[in-house]
């Protein structure tokens, strides 16, 4: 961390409010791969007195949590909420009753945890996790920051009590003002030591709960592949724009070393089942980010794992249809056609298929697809538009 007051405060502001898995989490960690048995989970925390620095921070986060509960972006799905709470309970070894998990509809990769026990999990992360173990790895890392009280340490490191009053009004919703286009929130302020400790605590928690620790390396690897699209080959090695983390490689290797080869649960099926009712919406949110190349890396990976997944085929078809560069219409047609043949194809597949056929001047095929769409979704928001296309085609 740079040592000037302003940067320190800014760093704290960015961290305390949104304890993000920022790029620092990816910026290589020092090679101190220690035995996990030295990691101790502390006993439950007591609520600090309101007139202390920590008490003030809790109070502030309590207010944010109250607002978050009313936010239209908070995902209310009962099954998902119960599933996430249960997962965190299994990971957090006795801290369960102090932690509340809030899933939030933001199509970017992030999770964060506040010292008062509020944990946020963004839908972009849940879409990207391939199984329960990968999600457990990320949530375990966040729990690591919480259990080791990194946020509070940073508050004290800032040596500025006014920081709390400055934070009021700057927490600003569940998203961030900066970097609303990027895949990850462009902010973090944990030191490398904190990140490394959170990594080890996370690994300790996930292995103790019976998960395969190697999945922790997998989710970061997958994310890096997406970040490299715009970030270049060194994406993830560079830290925050205000900081100067040296470039070090090997985090993946360290995680693998910590994971050992004992194996464990991956939990792909229960995870797939619980996110199934929400996943199409998350895929559509991902497409609407308009970062087509990043989305294609994600969708290609998802389809490699599960070929013929009609929702992902539809989403990839949409990305190609919208990008519409050389060869994209044919790629869109291929995906959408395959999706439309699946028994549970999303109804939007037929609209997209009709639009691609129309653009390729295949009038009969376009009309057929549009008719199927209107038959399956007569109340669709764009029904009037599609009817006007049908009239043109005939």
């Amino acid at each position: 961390m740079p040592s000037t007051d302003t940067t320190g405060r800014r760093g704290f502001l960015r961290s305390a409010c949104r304890h993000c898995l920022g790029l620092a989490a990816l910026a290589g960690l020092p090679a101190i791969a220690q035995d996990l048995s030295s990691i101790r989970v502390p006993p439950r925390f007591k609520r600090p007195a309101a007139d202390t620095d920590e008490g003030g921070l809790w109070g502030l986060m309590d207010r944010e949590e109250t607002r978050l509960k009313r936010s239209p972006l908070t995902i209310q799905d009962k099954d998902l909420r119960a599933y996430l709470s249960d997962l965190v309970c299994r990971l957090s070894e006795g801290h369960c009753t102090d932690i509340r998990v809030h899933p939030v509809r933001v199509p970017r990769f992030n999770a964060m945890m506040a010292p008062n026990g509020m944990m946020l999990v963004w839908s972009g992360l849940m879409l990207r996790a391939e199984n329960e173990a990968q999600l457990a790895a990320v949530l375990g890392h966040e729990l690591g920051h919480y259990l080791e009280r990194h946020q509070v340490e940073q508050l004290r490191a800032a040596k500025d009590r006014a920081v709390l009053s400055t934070m009021v009004g700057m927490v600003g919703g569940v998203g961030s003002v900066l970097g609303q286009i990027g895949l990850m929130a462009d902010m973090f302020a944990f030191s490398r030591e904190h990140e490394e400790r959170a990594d080890r605590m996370g690994m300790r928690l996930m292995r103790h709960a019976g998960y395969d620790g190697r999945e922790a390396a997998a989710i970061w690897d997958n994310l890096l592949a997406e970040l490299r699209i715009t970030g270049g080959k060194d994406a993830g090695k560079r830290g925050d724009m205000f900081e100067t983390h040296p470039t070090t490689a090997g985090r993946r290797d360290q995680l693998l070393q910590l994971a050992g080869d004992a194996g464990g649960i991956t939990g792909a099926d229960p995870y797939r089942k619980v996110i199934a009712p929400l996943r199409l919406g998350w895929l559509q949110d991902e497409v609407k980010r308009g970062q087509y190349e990043e989305s294609l890396v994600l969708f290609d990976r998802m389809l490699a794992k599960q070929p013929g997944d009609s929702e992902v085929l539809y989403a990839r078809g949409e990305v190609h249809r919208l990008r519409d560069e050389a060869g994209d219409l044919e790629r869109a047609l291929s995906d959408l056609d395959a999706a439309s043949r699946a028994p549970k194809a999303p109804v939007e597949t037929f609209r997209a298929l009709g639009l691609v056929h129309k653009q390729r001047s295949d009038r009969a095929a376009a009309a057929r697809a549009f008719e199927t769409y209107l038959a399956q979704a007569p109340q669709a928001p764009d029904a009037a538009m599609v009817r006007s296309y049908l009239a043109e085609l005939k």
Partner: protein, 206 residues
């Protein structure tokens, strides 16, 4: 430290947006003329020149009417986000950009992507409509805004005009306000502006 704070304060004040009162005949980007029966406030940010005009009744945190007048192919519909530090081989992020030959639903997708940078967007209606004397599309949407967790409602009109010089030009308007109370109350004023929209026939080319 004090000097730094003074500098920061000066920068903060300098960054304040300008607000000017708009009424009568107004022209956006020399190309899109509107007639105002109600006065609007035009908000302009001297630090960030957006490719659209932003007007408001109650203030930007609440409602905005954005007007795009004559966007040319290859031009983005929004300001590109600032990048402060990047690797040599890093690429620019995509921003919704107008191009030639877009069918109506793809024009709507551009605005969907534009508002998706602010929150979760859902298009709730899309239908053929006239805008600025051109055949185009009208769409409605909801926006769960991240910056303040507000439930917003929006409506947009977009049309493309054939142009001898540029091939095509995009004209559009969007109006967004909190779903509760504000949207219904202010919508007629926004619609009045949109109904009056027409393209200037002999504009001064820049």
């Amino acid at each position: 430290m004090k000097k730094v704070l003074a500098l920061l304060l000066a920068l903060l004040l300098a960054a304040c947006a300008n607000v000017s009162r708009m009424d009568g005949e107004q022209v956006v980007n020399d190309r899109l003329a509107v007639h105002l029966t109600d006065a609007w406030n035009k908000v302009s940010d001297p630090w960030e020149v957006d490719p659209y005009d932003t007007w408001t009744q109650e203030g930007i945190p609440l409602d905005h009417l954005r007007l795009w007048g004559g966007v040319r192919p290859g031009q983005p519909l929004m300001t590109k986000p600032a990048v402060f530090s990047r690797a040599a081989d890093a690429k620019d992020r995509r921003v919704p950009t107008f191009r030639v030959g877009l069918p109506p639903e793809r024009l709507v997708s551009l605005f969907e992507e534009l508002y998706a940078t602010a929150g979760a967007v859902t298009v709730t209606r899309m239908e053929p409509a006239m805008f600025a004397g051109q055949k185009g599309v009208r769409f409605e949407f909801t926006l769960a805004r991240r910056s303040d967790d507000l439930d917003m409602q929006g409506v947009g009109w977009v049309a493309v005009r054939q142009d001898a010089t540029w091939g095509e030009e995009l004209y559009a308007a969007t109006f967004v306000a909190p779903r509760l109370s504000f949207y219904q109350r202010l919508l007629p004023m926004a619609e009045a502006v949109v109904k009056s929209a027409r393209i200037r026939s002999n504009p001064a080319r820049s």
